[in-house]
């Protein structure tokens, strides 16, 4: 057991824990409970907003899987990862003020609330709620695996024990503190990610004897590592460019991101968040993936990609510093998990239960249910994560792609195109998800593109054509 590395990590977890419990005090036990628990009372400032968005997205996929894949593929994967810079400004600019204004008008607390008011359709709500529950559930499982892996390789305890510790920590502060706890801990975690990756990158460059040296080592091992095409030359421009949709602009449709786009206090917070978010996402993505690539000449034979980050940290830095820096990926995973957990729970309680099962449930009951569902979900994910697959990144991306294909047009067109209606939204969601699952299973890379691209394009036409074709049936359903 590596106590020197472990102590700083424990310290960090305690701080996060404390913040979560402190935030829990703010939750009023009144009729604003739901707004407080699931949306933090719409009070986020610019810095916290930027950080919580970054931290939610900069998840295990990018933090553990990302550097691992960069280690295998070389600079081509860093190029791919940099497509995520666009999320920093694009999401808030496009959802932007219109989404903030409309969700306040509708008194929406979740993305599904927005869709419900905009389209006035039970089926839109049910399909959305269930796709969120299913897809985010698998994303969450992937994240927990990442978290447990990290503890496993850092501390040297068995995977199951690690998973248990991780699950317990996250569950307690999410259950108690709700969205405000999640957003505040995200801000701390985002800051740690920012500084942690910076220190680790510098330490890695020094250990590798400077950038030029590292690049020529890579070149000597396999020249493909320093091209944009990946180690085997398999990363085609079309495939890599597809990630502009998957991890770039498509992110506007991820429920855990959109919920943040309704949680900020005012325009000023939003403006600040755009600037801070762009810079922070860019720095973190660039550093983190470069670390993966630069680790290769230093530690040439790592088998499991997920372990690159912890191993390189322990290699190039003193143990105590590695402990502090490794809090960064830990932070990334926790901040994604906590958001997803809360979101799935809000879907169950708010979107399904309150809408269709028991609209008049008492506040006391809603509160108990929210907390109970959050806790139960956590336990189920824990059980699922006990038997994990090896590379978590693909599992994770599958979930995100599915949600993007489902929601991108119902949200974006719902905001900016008055003629869009429930039939269009339904057609778009069904086409998006159906085609994505089919295409991912049977034609993994149609035309050399990532399987998310085609469903997104086709579901756009489904939305527009079906909406236009059914104009007469839904005269009065444009947003008022």
């Amino acid at each position: 057991m590596n106590w020197q590395a472990l102590l700083p990590l424990i310290g960090l977890l305690l701080i996060i824990f404390g913040v979560g419990i402190w935030a829990g005090k703010y939750i009023k036990f009144s009729n604003t409970f739901l707004q407080d628990y699931f949306l933090g009372g719409r009070s986020l400032g610019g810095f916290v907003l930027a950080m919580t968005m970054t931290a939610t997205y900069g998840s295990a996929s990018s933090f553990i899987g990302g550097p691992g894949t960069a280690y295998t593929e070389g600079l081509g994967w860093v190029l791919l990862a940099m497509t995520q810079v666009s999320t920093g400004y694009f999401v808030l600019m496009v959802l932007g003020k219109k989404f903030a204004i409309m969700t306040r008008k509708y008194k929406a607390l979740t993305m599904v609330d927005f869709l419900k008011e905009r389209y006035q359709s039970k089926w839109v709500v049910l399909i959305s709620a269930f796709s969120i529950i299913i897809f985010l559930f698998s994303a969450m499982a992937a994240q927990w695996i990442g978290g447990a892996r990290l503890i496993e390789s850092l501390v040297g305890i068995p995977y199951t024990t690690a998973l248990f510790i991780f699950a317990l920590l996250v569950l307690i502060y999410v259950v108690i503190g709700g969205f405000r706890a999640v957003a505040l801990t995200d801000a701390i975690q985002g800051t740690i990610m920012f500084i942690g990756t910076l220190i680790l990158l510098i330490a890695t460059i020094i250990a590798g004897g400077g950038i030029s040296n590292i690049i020529s080592d890579l070149n000597a091992e396999n020249p493909n590592l320093i091209t944009p095409y990946g180690a085997e030359g398999t990363l085609s421009p079309a495939f890599v460019s597809s990630f502009w949709i998957l991890v770039g602009v498509g992110v506007v449709a991820l429920p855990q991101i959109t919920v943040r786009a309704m949680s900020y206090r005012d325009s000023r917070s939003m403006h600040r968040a755009i600037i801070i978010g762009t810079i922070v996402v860019g720095v973190i993505m660039l550093n983190m993936h470069l670390i993966g690539v630069f680790a290769r000449p230093i530690l040439p034979s790592i088998e499991v990609g997920d372990k690159v980050m912890p191993l390189i940290a322990l290699e190039v830095m003193p143990n105590w510093l590695a402990g502090i820096v490794l809090a960064a990926p830990m932070a990334a995973i926790m901040s994604t998990v906590d958001s997803l957990l809360l979101l799935v729970s809000s879907s169950v309680v708010k979107d399904v239960y309150l809408n269709y099962m028991e609209p008049n449930a008492s506040h006391q009951r809603v509160k108990r249910l929210s907390i109970g569902v959050t806790a139960t979900l956590g336990v189920i994910v824990f059980l699922m994560a006990l038997n994990p697959p090896d590379l978590i990144i693909w599992l994770n991306l599958f979930a995100f792609g599915g949600l993007e294909a489902a929601f991108i047009w119902p949200i974006v067109m719902g905001l900016y195109w008055r003629k869009g209606n429930k039939y269009g939204a339904l057609a778009s969601m069904v086409t998006g998800i159906g085609l994505y699952v089919l295409s991912d299973t049977f034609f993994p890379q149609p035309f050399g593109l990532h399987s998310v691209v085609l469903p997104v394009v086709v579901s756009f036409f489904a939305y527009v054509l079906v909406s236009l074709g059914t104009q007469n049936d839904s005269v009065s359903e444009a947003p008022s």
Binding site: G88, L92, K97, I101, P228, G282, L286
Partner: protein, 94 residues
Amino acid sequence: MKHENRSDNDPRYKVANREALIGVGLVIFNFIWWFAFAYGLGGKDPSEYTYVFGLPAWFFYSCVLGFVVMAVLVTIVVKKWFVEVPFDEEGDGK
């Protein structure tokens, strides 16, 4: 909930629409910059690469400089053209 003002008459939505278009414009610019440098300079054989600060030139211009340019551009655009509007109305919420 019925509101009298139709969505397209709300002056705040004009601001919102314009800013959304700016976002789309920025992303297109970002993509072109990223793609042109990566595959324009990186498409050659690695033995012909030139280097900037030890990094292959394609990577430096596409990923490092490209990111810096975007950060600066976003800052300028937000400071200059983004308008502050209130989100609440009719005294609902605080």
